[in-house]
Amino acid sequence: MKYFLLALLALLAGTPFYGLGNYPLHLVIMCLLWGYVYTSWSIMGRLGLVSFGHGAFLGIGAYSVVMLWNHFGVSPWIGAIAGVVVSVIVAVIIGLPCFRFKIVGHYFALVTLALSEVTRLIIVALRDQTGGSLGATPNTALAQGNAWSLGALQFSEKIVWFYAILAVWLAGLWVWAKVDRGMTRLALEAISQEEEAAASIGINVTRSKLFVTLISAVMTSIGGVLYAQYQLYINPETVSGISISLQMVFGVIAGGMYVMLGPTVGAVFTLLLAEGLRLALGDSFKQFPALDLAIYGLMLVLFIIHMPKGILGTAAQIWQRRAAAKAPARG
């Protein structure tokens, strides 16, 4: 299994050299970027902290870099740090009282939903600075035929972005695995089963929850920074608010919340569903503008009812069951 994954990774790393053209490469980059963001969400989501507010962190990351760069000429590297710091502050302001006062389950989901809407509304309300609903574009640093600007974190070549985002995605998976093996995961699993009992055996509930929330928030806001710098266009609806927050939650559920690559599979699945339909239906796809979304919604309902572990989770389960069935025959 390990070698298979390494081979897959090697295959992935060579993507820019297969001569696929710009658009397929862009799709792969988007899969990795959203895979990373979904992974960030799942770090807390799979431990019983279902947040509908991650649009807030994505938006804070994206708007921090672009606003600091456009209005003050601050390098996106510093802007990214600023975005992360703001995200940490917001996560503590919301997380600490939530965890202390035991706001869990759908109450937690709805409080965080309010957070993501507040972020979106503030961005829209500050339209003189942010451009409001029209969105914002970072001032370009690529004049005079420059393809690179490391200081401004702008690259016109997709290959640079591919490797940058591949590295960030791998780092995200590494953090996921690290949390997965840590004590905090065990503590949080106990908490999500029975919070009072967990507290009574000496688990610090608030601290454990805050720990994964901060990791998740920081990673998500970095995702927002990357999104802004790669797309070079941000919009309050696409980086914050209820719709992107729901998209994250359901992408992860579709892929599988409890396995490392589940969120990435969810991202690939959602992006390729639209592309697949476009290919399959050809020109007639344009007549059905939201067919992919309709199929997606229907599949989500079926997934949650019939396979709550998601695509990859269910596949892993079947694979393990087969392996278990084979093992006695071999032994």
């Binding site: 507040v118 503030i122 309300a125 719709s243 503008p289 309902v301």
Partner: protein, 288 residues
């Protein structure tokens, strides 16, 4: 100063009118939560379907407006019953958060279905009612109708719950889901009736919203969050709390929007919501 005050009064009165509408919006969701213990995250999308139903019947099929509205209410009520039967029932015994999430799938589906059927262009009924002018203040006429209808809807729901057999059964189930089957109440039937009732309230909201706003597939996202927050603020399942919360929220939006931009009104309302959650997580009128 004189003029300032009259406009502030106008904002406050408009806030009260908006409060009635928000109260109706949250009523159906609250009813469903109180009885079935499930949050329909797609509730606003069901209202959107109702708005499209009224539009399709009135503008495309040339039905009289009132007939189209009655049919719209019936359609959303049916949708509510179907929603319970096919989506909620299979996950009734699953974890609460799964029940919330499954309705999110329905949200995407309904949005997409509306886009497929009607496209993404803004649609409206083309009914324009003149504003009501009192002194120097002016009020939107549809909003006054909405306010009156919302109060009527709230009163009718209250009468239904307190004066009829099925209403008594609904309240009994909401108090103790475990014991009522032993008393001979069929919870499955009560759940379906409640869902249909919640759906019909969504349909009524749709009829009132369609008079004031343009319809588009994503319109649910614009008033969905506020509907949930009102229910939570009032104490999920507590209908009286929902009413109070609706009027509080409406004042924040209306008066906040009067002093600053309208988005700031919403920001203040949402921040207020978050603050109250930390102070009283069970809602302003919820019991421990």
């Amino acid at each position: 100063m004189e003029i300032f005050d009259i406009f502030l009064l106008e904002a406050v009165l408009n806030g009260i009118l908006l409060g009635g509408l928000l109260a109706l919006l949250s009523l159906g969701l609250n009813l469903i939560f109180g009885v079935i213990d499930v949050v329909w995250i797609c509730y606003a999308e069901m209202i959107m379907i109702g708005m499209y139903a009224v539009y399709a019947l009135h503008v495309q099929q040339h039905w009289p407006l009132l007939a189209a509205m009655a049919a719209g209410i019936a359609i959303v009520a049916l949708l509510g019953a179907l929603m319970h039967q096919f989506v909620i029932r299979p996950v009734l015994s699953a974890e609460p958060i799964n029940q919330l999430l499954v309705t999110g799938g329905v949200l995407f589906f309904l949005q997409a279905a509306a886009t497929l059927a009607f496209g993404i262009e803004f649609k409206n009924l083309g009914v324009r009612l003149p504003p009501v002018v009192i002194g120097e203040m002016s009020f939107s006429f549809p909003r006054i109708i909405a306010f009156a209808m919302a109060l009527a809807g709230v009163a009718a729901t209250w009468l239904l719950l307190t004066r009829t057999y099925i209403g008594t059964a609904i309240r009994a189930i909401s108090q103790d889901r475990g014991i009522m089957p032993l008393m001979g109440v069929n919870p499955g039937r009560v759940f379906v009736v409640t869902s249909a009732l919640g759906g019909s309230l969504a349909g009524l909201s749709a009829c009132l919203l369609v008079l004031q706003y343009d319809i588009h597939p994503a319109i649910g996202l614009s008033f969905g969050p506020i509907t949930f927050l009102i229910c939570v603020l009032g104490g999920l399942g507590n209908m009286l709390g929902g009413l109070v919360a609706a009027f509080i929220f409406a004042q924040f939006i209306s008066v906040g929007g009067f002093f600053f931009a309208i988005e700031w009104g919403y920001v203040i309302a949402f921040v207020f919501f978050i603050a109250v959650m930390f102070w009283r997580p069970q809602g302003i009128l919820g019991g421990k």
